[in-house]
């Protein structure tokens, strides 16, 4: 089982969380012309690489906050967790 350090509640088992996918995906800006390619990249296309992956999780059985987790997709090592609105360098 993974253990994820919720930035609001502390270290909790994975079963309290639900997964939300790639956190690096950005919605195209509002109020501007959006090409089909941009929509494709936002809605469908994913890098899904082996190694470091920034992803969204929701602490659904806890504080119910969305958080960002930086995790290795091959070893499952979790490097860092962030609040949803925290920027990632």
């Amino acid at each position: 089982m993974l253990y994820i350090k919720c930035p609001h509640c502390g270290m909790r088992p994975q079963i309290e969380f639900s997964y939300g996918g790639d956190a690096s995906v950005k919605r195209p800006d509002l109020n501007k012309e959006i090409s089909d390619k941009e929509w494709d990249d936002f809605v469908y296309n994913r890098k899904s690489l082996r190694g470091k992956h920034l992803e969204l999780w929701q602490h659904i059985s806890g504080c119910r906050q969305w958080i960002k987790v930086e995790r290795d997709t091959a070893t499952h090592e979790i490097f860092k967790t962030f609040k949803a609105d925290e920027g990632v360098v």
Binding site: M1, Y44, S48, H53, E55, T73
Partner: protein
């Protein structure tokens, strides 16, 4: 090539089976091929076989990072079916069913295809209606489907929980009697043996580290065992598609996820069909050795680990015990995991790409094994003719751009949601 037959078996018994030919060779990579298939799994091996057999293209190499059949063709739960509602999936899979029926003769290799039927259980009136609709769609496409009521299901699987006060009572089910199982390793080995015999080079322990693309055209690949020139290159690397796509500067509508399966200790024959739980994601069959073969949900987050996590297994088996309570008395023999291409609509991609001479076969989600022959057949056609066959025309890469999704499960773009 020596034919596998009862006569050859007897003949070789006199020499203690020491003189059988090798099933396939271990060649050094040549400098150049007409077609290079990356990935020596079921789909890759089948593609090479049909390239040679149907299209007479034999200057073909299969490049495999590990050993052939070591990926998902060796890790699945061996279920073969074509019980799809949408035309694209139904017609494609039913074409495959035909190839399955002939496979053992075709390959001269016993793949132990066993059309024992699959039953999808229904646990509400609404689900029965949905299954009636799916069954009708199947029958319109020439696929056999039978809607079973509760009593009929009980006759086939009396060991399931038919008591009155369960959380998910069994209302009935949809059965495809011609569905079944096959010996998965034999499928890989049978295709490999025949492809090798027709001149295909099966090159194992050879990792692809890059591609040689110039002016929008593929010229070859770079591997851990040297550069190989190729007029055409086909990708058949479910689970690792995203890794190779990155080397090609492509971003695909695919996420890589982990799916687990498990078998119990062997028990006496109890279940003679494949059964799926309708109120969650759990499927079960019994192998010829007597093990109960089970599987269900993805682990639920991007993973290349090829090993599973206990919470998901526990969740899946809880569903199994809800459906067939006797399972709780069995000991677990083995659990394992494989990495899946989860496409964004749950349907696969077999298509050309924007790079001339580069072809893509990926996105098989939960259903790669049963698609092995049809996938190989259509992919071989796509590569040989440089155009898609009508059977895989729907499995295009640009359907995500044009909106022609094949959303069989109605899950939208989050096919990994459990």
């Amino acid at each position: 090539m020596q034919k596998y037959s009862i006569f050859n078996l007897v003949k070789n018994a006199f020499s203690n089976h020491q003189n059988w030919d090798l099933a396939w060779k271990d060649p050094e990579p040549k400098e150049e091929y007409d077609v290079v298939i990356i990935g020596g799994g079921g789909h890759g091996l089948a593609t090479a076989y049909y390239l040679a057999k149907e299209h007479n293209i034999t200057k073909v190499a299969i490049i495999e990072k590990g050993w052939i059949g070591g990926g998902n063709v060796g890790r699945n739960t061996t279920i073969i079916r074509s019980n799809y509602m949408h035309d694209e999936n139904g017609l494609f899979s039913e074409f495959g069913m035909d190839l399955w029926r002939k496979m053992s003769q075709d390959l001269n290799y016993n793949v132990m295809f066993s059309p024992r039927g699959i039953i999808n259980l229904a646990h509400s009136d609404a689900q029965m209606n949905a299954y009636a609709r799916r069954g009708n769609s199947m029958r319109l496409n020439g696929i056999d489907a039978v809607l079973l009521n509760r009593e009929q299901v009980k006759e086939i699987i009396p060991m399931a929980d038919f008591s009155e006060n369960v959380r998910f009572p069994i209302f009935g089910g949809l059965m495809q009697p011609s569905a079944g199982t096959a010996r998965h390793d034999a499928v890989a080995w049978g295709y490999a043996r025949q492809a090798d015999d027709m001149g295909v080079d099966i090159i194992q322990n050879c990792e692809v580290i890059g591609f040689d693309v110039s002016a929008g055209k593929i010229n070859g690949i770079r591997t851990s065992r040297g550069n190989i020139k190729a007029k055409k290159v086909g990708l058949c690397v479910a689970g690792s598609t995203n890794i190779l796509a990155e080397k090609l500067n492509m971003t695909l509508p695919i996420e890589t996820h982990l799916l687990q399966a498990c078998v119990s200790e062997p028990v006496k024959p109890v279940l003679d069909s494949v059964v799926t739980f309708g109120a969650g994601h759990f499927y079960i069959s019994q192998s010829d050795k007597g093990e109960m073969v089970m599987g269900g949900d993805l682990d639920g987050y991007n993973s290349y680990a090829q090993r599973g996590n206990l919470p998901t297994l526990q969740h899946v088996l809880t569903e199994g015990i809800a459906m067939m309570p006797f399972l709780s008395k069995l000991k677990m023999l083995r659990t394992w995991g494989g990495i899946m291409d989860m496409s964004m609509d749950g349907s696969p991609i077999i298509d050309k790409t924007h790079i001339d001479g580069l072809y893509l076969n990926c996105g098989w989600c939960y259903g790669g094994f049963k698609a092995t022959p049809a996938s190989g057949w259509t992919f071989a056609h796509t590569i040989a003719q440089d155009r898609v066959h009508e059977l895989n025309a729907g499995y295009s890469l640009n359907r995500f751009n044009t909106g022609h999704l094949i959303d069989e499960k109605g899950l939208g773009t989050k096919t990994w949601i459990s």
